[in-house]
Amino acid sequence: MSVKVISGDHAVAYAAKLARTEVVPAFPITPQTLIVERLAEFINDGELDADFIPADSEHSAMSIAIGASAGGVRAFTATSSQGLALMHEMLYAVPQCRLPIVMANVNRSLGAAAGIWVEHNDSMAERDSGWLQVYVEDNQEALDATLMAFRLAEDRRVLLPVMVCLDGFILSHTVERVEVPGQEEVDRFLPRFEPCTVLDPAEPKLINPIVPPEYAMEMRYQLDRAVDRSREVIAEVDAGFGKAFGRSYGGLLDTYRLEDADFALLTLGTATGLARAAVDELRSEGKRAGLIKLRFMRPFPFQGLREKAEGLKALGVLDRSVSFNGGGPVYTEVAAALCNVPTIVTGHVAGIGGRDIAPDHMREMFALVERAARGERVRPVTWHGLRGEME
């Protein structure tokens, strides 16, 4: 183990290196660039024995990753925003082919009103692709989640691709203290990749033919079950990681001062750190505030959330993206999970297009959730930090 002061992007690059990634197809996009640049350096310096393939686009990068994974080697790539959107078509091929590709997505706003700053509308748009999605809070978690992603993806009970999502700039380009595990420790945690189905002339196999209606529905159902079953493996991998490296993250979700809370906020990504501070402040004022940190958007922890929400009078959900006219995607998911329990769920949109989420906004959210917990009527969805009034 060594301690380094590195950016979130570099933390991810170290993880991909420690995982002994074998093929790295890549196409640059801010704020992902530091990941693939660092990997190119590792490879050219002889520190990582891998093929760096400068693809002609993100669509091709994912296509190359698919070919490499179906060819039986560990493939890793990284992208962001427009790049992820360009990959969209190929993303859908990966889970159904059961290819355990790992990819980092550095969250950045997608589409017009264009910018390079953090928003989750890029990866949230891919939540129904079949990829598992984990969102991280800091650079250490970026490294750890990437390492765990390989183990999770390649587990024979899972065999699904994993997308590690980290907030653009807030993590990608900000340095923090990160414990970088040693290669031997990682080798013990992450065994050599043993592919399940391989394109090998010695044993010819047909991967992904055209599937008529007589079979396609069952295949989709199997995929749905595989995504659901990955919940158990996530818990297992998280515990195993804790044993090996002394850090674990709660699996699908984590909580903070939730035990006796009356009201709480649910966050994902870097907003979690700010929310922790707000909870501490509220607690010091004698208020029973708590926090749920959602880690995995897929598989979504429906059951885990119901258990955690027990006893909560109200739960606010922070979204860093919008599902137009319906609040945010996390809000609608949480509301669905809690539809049969008495907890009131409120939606909170903030940090869009890279707008800072300030401590004041956090207090504002908690104040609304507290009012909802007291039985007051509040808007179902509130935008925080708008310059101007909500109508």
């Binding site: 074998e22 002609d56 091709s60 490499a68 039986g72 080697v73």
Partner: protein, 322 residues
């Protein structure tokens, strides 16, 4: 490596077997069957969205006896890159071949093709050119010839058929300076076999461009597929050559140019063409002919064209035939 040389030496060990769903008389199926025979069992196949994937890989059956992968339409150059990288790392000896249509090569797949060619990936890229998006019902592609009817270049009252000439994909590929690129005809078997063998034996990016007549798309008789492929060469609509390490070489030269109408009249897709359009196509062909075969011998067909109207064939400066 043993030279096959002629059709009699072809291994009978088929890697693309019968039972597939191609139309009777499909030129693409003929090309694939023979390419796969020559490539043999140590081959890994990628097929993008196209007629071929639909006719050969409908779950739970397959016409390929080799490993096979399909994912999408525009990524043949990319997926084959990934497969090859993996197989090289795993120490597998296998020809990785992408069997793509003209749409998947000239149009939507051009970027991935260019990427793979520019990186000189160790893959064999085959373009099965039936001159249109056939799988989706005969729409125009960059490979569709001038004048041809397709469902998106209909014969209307104002505009009749495609107004643009066929894109020169060989010149585009050759501009990447690959180790090998060749055009093939299913009517010229010895030439066909030699080129596939040569492509198989080389390393780096290899490109084979095969003209594959399509019965419903070309509105032709299923018994005439090979004859149409032969006439394509005799009229100059198709030229047989190879580019090896930068040198272009004609591999078959017809004795004299047949008028393009000999080719057009066997295909319903050209039936509507009026004299002016036919003359324009003939002119284009003459320029192409002289570029490939030299202009020492004036072709009678071309001499009939109005003097001074001879058009320049694109890329005249770029390709140097030896």
């Amino acid at each position: 490596m043993s030279e096959m040389g002629t059709i009699k030496d072809m291994p009978a060990n088929d890697m693309f077997v019968s039972g597939h769903g191609a139309c009777p008389g499909c030129g693409m199926a003929v090309a694939v069957k023979n390419i796969m025979r020559i490539l043999g069992a140590d081959t890994t196949v990628y097929v993008p969205a196209s007629c071929l994937v639909v006719i050969s890989a409908m779950y739970p059956t397959s016409s390929f006896r080799t490993p096979f992968l399909f994912t999408a339409f525009e990524n043949t150059g990319a997926v084959t890159t990934g497969i090859r990288a993996a197989q090289r790392r795993r120490g597998l000896r296998s020809t990785v071949v992408g069997l793509a249509g003209d749409g998947g090569t000239f149009d939507i797949g051009l970027q991935a093709l260019s990427g793979a060619a520019e990186r000189n990936e160790d893959i064999l890229y085959v373009c099965l050119d039936n001159e249109g998006f056939m799988n989706t019902g005969i729409q125009r592609s960059g490979a569709t010839p001038f004048g041809a009817w397709t469902t998106t270049t209909p014969v209307g009252k104002k505009v009749e058929g495609k107004r643009e000439f066929k894109k020169d994909i060989m010149a585009i590929v050759a501009a990447h300076d690959p180790p090998y690129a060749a055009s093939l005809s299913i009517a010229h078997y010895n030439d066909f076999i030699k080129k596939v063998e040569k492509a198989k034996s080389k390393q780096g990016f290899r490109f084979l461009h095969v003209l594959t007549p399509c019965v419903p798309g070309w509105r032709s008789d299923s018994s005439m597929t090979v004859e149409i492929a032969r006439l394509a060469v005799e009229t100059g609509m198709w030229t047989l050559y190879e580019v090896e390490d930068g040198n272009a070489r004609t591999t078959y030269k017809p004795k004299a140019m047949l008028p393009v109408t000999d080719y057009l009249k066997l295909q319903g897709r050209f039936r509507h063409m009026e004299d002016a359009d036919i003359a324009q196509l003939q002119e284009w062909l003459c320029a192409k002919w002289y570029l490939h075969y030299g202009d020492e011998i004036e072709q009678p067909v071309c001499a009939m064209l109005e003097k001074g109207k001879r058009m320049r064939y694109p890329h005249e400066e770029q390709l140097h035939f030896v």
